[in-house]
């Protein structure tokens, strides 16, 4: 990316609540504490998590009927998208607004599972005959819509009437950075003059959490989280909440830490604030070392200690936290390390008045 683009609005949903102003400061002050997950209480009781609390009906996404089609991530995404669009004042020509999102895995409501299993299992095993003629009829007919990963983009677009260029990228970190980078390319190329980009996901679905446990992430300090965050971008704007200078994804798992460090040498030499979002203990150590060695004197804030790892949402939540903490004339570097093994780096700046 060459010239910076303007950030003219933002939206977020996290354990902090709905909204991004104050999020970074709450994280930095240690005001957010992990609590036992209500979403995992039945499947994995006693799991500490960073979980979105009850959503007031007036602030929820769509109506009750629309929410039946939504996974939890799609619901959180739609709220964050609405907040970002409102904050940016993107009220007109919405059919021209571009939208790029990092999205997570499927998440059908687990309440549907017992009905299908009860109707489909015979003698302790799955009977295809029973599934075909009884099990399918026992479930919510709309559960397929909850499994569509791209609906974390589409529900928000439908509710808000967005119609511009777009894409949804599967993400456990780096896909969300790709979403933001693509939004910037589209703005620069003139494919749209306004865009939103971000990520939404939950690590608090029982199947997802079982996977993260099985793959050893929880044993290495991963705190499961969830949320959504969206930036509203414009090619040019004044005043702006901030400027996005660059956003990249770097292969960590395949290339090794040395390559990651080499790639980060391309980042600006000066930063006043470094926000890191490591998925767990191992990357926390080397991201912290990296921040300390490259940006000595900069304030370092670890958002994952409080917000946990919310997979596709992690980079986006770190971006809005940085935006909240950034003061006029300062530059922030946001580094995330996701469970995909990849690293993302984004650079933000806030101009002096």
């Amino acid at each position: 990316m060459s010239a910076p683009v303007a950030i003219v609005g933002a939206g977020a949903v996290s354990a902090f609540g709905i909204g991004w102003r104050g999020l970074g400061r709450a994280v930095a002050a240690g005001d957010l504490q992990p609590r036992e997950s209500a979403l995992l209480r039945d499947s994995h009781p006693g799991t500490l998590a960073s979980e979105v609390g009850e959503i007031p009906t007036a602030l929820d996404a769509g109506n009750a009927r629309a929410r039946k089609l939504m996974s939890r991530a799609a619901r959180l995404a739609a709220i964050a998208m609405r907040e970002a669009l409102v904050a940016a004042g993107f009220d007109e020509r919405r059919e021209e607004i571009g939208a790029w999102m990092g999205v997570g895995a499927s998440g059908i409501a687990m309440e549907d599972v017992p009905a299908i299993v009860s109707a489909s299992f015979v003698d302790g095993g799955l009977s295809l005959h029973r599934l075909g003629d009884q099990g399918l009829l026992a479930c919510n007919p709309l559960f397929t819509f909850q499994t569509l990963n791209n609906f974390s983009l589409c529900h928000g677009a439908i509710l808000e009437g967005l119609g511009g260029p777009n894409a949804a990228f599967f993400s456990r970190g780096s896909g969300t950075a790709v979403a933001l980078a693509e939004a910037v390319h589209a703005l620069r190329a003139g494919e749209c003059d306004r865009a939103i980009a971000g990520g939404a996901d939950t690590a608090l679905h029982p199947v997802t959490w079982a996977e993260l446990q099985r793959d050893g992430f929880s044993a290495q300090g991963l705190l499961p989280g969830e949320g959504a965050a969206v930036l509203a971008l414009a090619r040019e704007a004044s005043p702006a909440l901030g400027l996005l200078e660059s956003c990249t994804a770097v292969a960590g798992a395949q290339e090794g830490a040395a390559a990651v460090f080499r790639e980060l040498e391309r980042l600006p030499p000066r930063a006043d604030l470094v926000v890191i979002a490591p998925w767990g203990t191992p990357p926390r150590a080397w991201l912290g070392d990296m921040a300390a060695s490259r940006y000595s004197g900069a304030a370092v804030v670890d958002v994952s200690l409080r917000l946990g790892d919310s997979l596709a949402a992690t980079p986006a939540l770190a971006w809005v936290a940085a935006l909240d903490l950034l003061r006029p004339g300062e530059r922030a570097v946001v580094l995330t390390a996701g469970v995909d093994g990849d690293l993302t780096a984004a650079v933000f700046r806030k101009e002096s008045p």
């Binding site: 499927s106 299992f121 399918l136 791209n150 609906f151 589409c154 439908i158 777009n166 599967f170 079982a210």
Partner: protein, 429 residues
């Protein structure tokens, strides 16, 4: 100026493994939708599909079909050992990618080689809940000791692409497109963008998908998308009698690189990726916009980016699902975007089914038939014209034509629309 060109292509479809099988099937005007054989679907509301003709996928079959690709056997063994091959689209992704890479002349994949790939949903393995099912609920505390393979409950979304990257030595972050039925075409468009911007010198792109499994078929049946007739002609695109789609499975992959680089290494240029455009309906989760306005804008964006006037378009490969709602809306979009010109249009979904996230990729592969054999694919089971679809639909047999520019439409559940414009490499730039 860098220009993206296709130098390698591979496909897996209901016609079989390999791009030649797809080309031959389409060139002969055949259709390959039939009774599902890979599992017992006899009690399911839908039991026909465009199924890849292989009942069970194992490591030996996969390694053999991948052909001469270094490390292919090891990847196939690894995929089998972890349970990855339980998800058919994993094998399809590997097969299509290996064929594309071989047909591009097995190019070196350095640090600027990328992967931009579309995949469908995680496949759910419902049967894996059996060892955890106790007293009417799932007891997750039993999960660590459950006698299940590493890939259990659901296949990770990026499972296939990660194996493809390992096979071909692609080390940059993977870009996994998750835009439902628009994803395959978006993956190709993204690959072309990476080439044009100089962010990559080679991109393996495309898509793989299979919903030919119990919960995939069952879920789609529950929302009423497939034809209820369970006949080989389940999908009748643009036909007055159309009543739903036919579910398909498979993959298509391409090697895309900069034209000057391709020509300098002596690679055969099979098509130019001239342009693309995407829009969203922003309308409903369960239906496309009836006026086709957003789809039309995607086509217009693609033409604009390609720098092509409508008169130069010789063929449109339609999304053409054969559903009551899609086809009239798409007809309006095509007429509008092409200024009412009578451009030949067809859909291959009657022949191979709807490949979901891979549909955009397999349909771009089908477009190569126009450049390489001078044939525009036909529309299997299109027999009765529909006045609500007032476009020049190619009938069941392919049509001979020499064309300069083709468009391929892909529209996803949720309202994502994308059009990709390909150029004949033998035509003037």
């Amino acid at each position: 100026m860098r220009r993206a060109v296709i130098t390698g292509a591979g496909a897996v479809s209901a016609f079989g493994v390999g791009l030649p099988a797809l080309f031959d099937g389409l060139a002969e005007g055949r259709a390959a939708v039939g009774e599902i054989r890979s599992f017992d679907a006899s009690t399911f509301p839908v039991h026909v599909a465009g199924e890849v003709p292989i009942a069970a996928i194992d490591a030996q079959w996969l390694a053999r079909e991948m052909g001469a690709v270094p490390g292919g056997e090891a990847i196939a063994d690894r995929a089998a050992a972890t349970g990855a091959l339980r998800d058919r689209k994993v094998a399809f992704a590997l097969l299509a990618a290996a064929e594309a890479w071989r047909s591009a002349g097995s190019p070196a994949t350095g640090p600027k080689a990328r992967l931009s790939f579309a995949v469908g949903l995680e496949q759910a393995f419902f049967e894996d809940l059996a060892p955890l099912w106790t007293g009417g609920s799932v007891d997750w505390s039993r999960e660590p000791d459950a006698p299940l393979p590493a890939v259990r409950f659901r296949s990770p979304v990026d499972l296939g692409p990660r194996l493809v990257a390992r096979l071909l030595g692609l080390r940059a972050p993977l870009v996994i497109h998750s835009s439902a039925c628009a994803a395959g075409a978006l993956a190709v468009a993204h690959a072309a963008a990476l080439i044009e911007r100089g962010e990559a010198d080679l991109v393996l792109c495309g898509g793989a998908d299979s919903m030919v499994n119990p919960l995939g078929i069952g879920g789609l049946a529950r929302i009423g998308a497939p034809s209820p007739r369970n006949e080989p002609d389940a999908c009748r695109p643009f036909d007055r009698r159309r009543d739903g789609l036919a579910i398909g499975e498979g993959a298509a992959a391409f090697v895309i690189e900069d034209e000057s680089r391709a020509r300098s290494r002596g690679a055969r240029v099979r098509a130019r990726v001239l342009g693309w455009g995407s829009t969203q309906d922003g309308y409903r989760a369960t239906a496309p916009r009836p006026d086709g306005a957003a789809a039309r804008r995607a086509m217009e964006r693609a033409l604009r980016r390609a720098g092509v006037v409508p008169e130069r378009v010789g063929y449109v490969n339609a999304h053409g699902t054969g559903t009551p709602l899609n086809d009239p809306a798409e007809s309006l979009a095509i007429r509008g975007a092409l200024d009412g010109a009578a451009v030949p249009v067809s859909s291959i979904k009657g022949a191979v089914g709807h490949l979901m996230s891979a549909s955009g990729a397999i349909e771009l592969a089908a477009c190569l038939l126009a450049f390489e054999r001078g044939l525009l694919p036909g529309t299997a089971h299109h027999r009765e014209r529909d006045p609500d679809c007032p476009i020049d639909v190619i009938g069941e047999r392919p049509r001979r034509a020499r064309v300069e520019v083709v468009l391929s439409n892909s529209f996803g559940f949720g309202g994502q629309n994308v059009t990709v414009a390909l150029g004949n490499p033998e035509a003037a730039s």
